[in-house]
């Protein structure tokens, strides 16, 4: 029971540098997941890193030079892990040169993304009159067709 109490749901959001080829992103994502797994993380959900524009230019110091980034592969993993292991994971992630920036936050097990659902709801409201009309027409037509087919059968 004690082990369960010590576990906490975390979410790791990360940016992978865009200089990496798209095929190799899978490897970096795999490395991140294996690092978490080694420390005893139990995965809950994840999103594969996708290329997206950044809201502002980010800098990363590489060999004494500040490199600018306007795009990156952004992905996230939600997992359950103990507090102590989380610090170790953070330290190792900071040393990873392929990660531009990352954020570990405490979160809940349930889905926390509502943006798509809400936009769908708004969409449904506008579509409802159209949706309501079409099935009725189909239903009427189908009934008539059935009647016709029955009559034909009776005649035969």
């Amino acid at each position: 029971m004690q082990e369960i109490e010590l576990m906490q749901v975390y979410e790791l959001g990360f940016h992978i540098v865009p200089t990496i080829a798209e095929e190799k992103v899978a490897n970096v994502f795999g490395d991140i997941k294996s690092l978490l797994e080694k420390n005893g993380a139990v995965f809950i959900s994840e999103e594969y890193p996708k290329m997206r524009p950044l809201a502002y230019t980010m800098f990363k110091n590489e060999a004494g030079k500040n490199e600018k980034f306007n795009f990156s592969y952004f992905g996230w993993v939600k997992y359950e892990l103990s507090k102590e292991a989380t610090f170790e994971v953070k330290e190792k992630l900071e040393k990873n040169k392929e990660i531009l920036r990352f954020l570990v936050i405490k979160t809940v097990r349930e889905n926390t993304l509502y943006g798509h659902k809400l936009s769908k709801k708004e969409g449904e409201k506008t579509e409802t009159p159209v949706v309501g009309v079409i099935p009725e027409e189909i239903a009427i037509a189908s009934e008539e067709e059935i009647d016709k087919s029955i009559e034909e059968l009776v005649v035969e």
């Binding site: 950044l54 809201a55 502002y56 980010m58 952004f74 920036r101 809940v108 926390t112 993304l113 509502y114």
Partner: protein, 68 residues
Amino acid sequence: MNKAQDFFAQNSIKHIDYKDVDILKKFINPYGRILSRKRTGLSAKHQRALALSIKHSRFMGLLPYIAR
């Protein structure tokens, strides 16, 4: 401000996610600043959670610190 005007209470959103940019964008002005509680109509608890989520989102480059 009563509960009926609280966006997160209305939509029964318990946890505000920093990745939910579409929702967070509703609560920033064209300059990228967080709207006041007077304007958002949120409960104190939700306003605090919102501010934190927007700041997380800015750090991760999903929202701007300064726009325009």
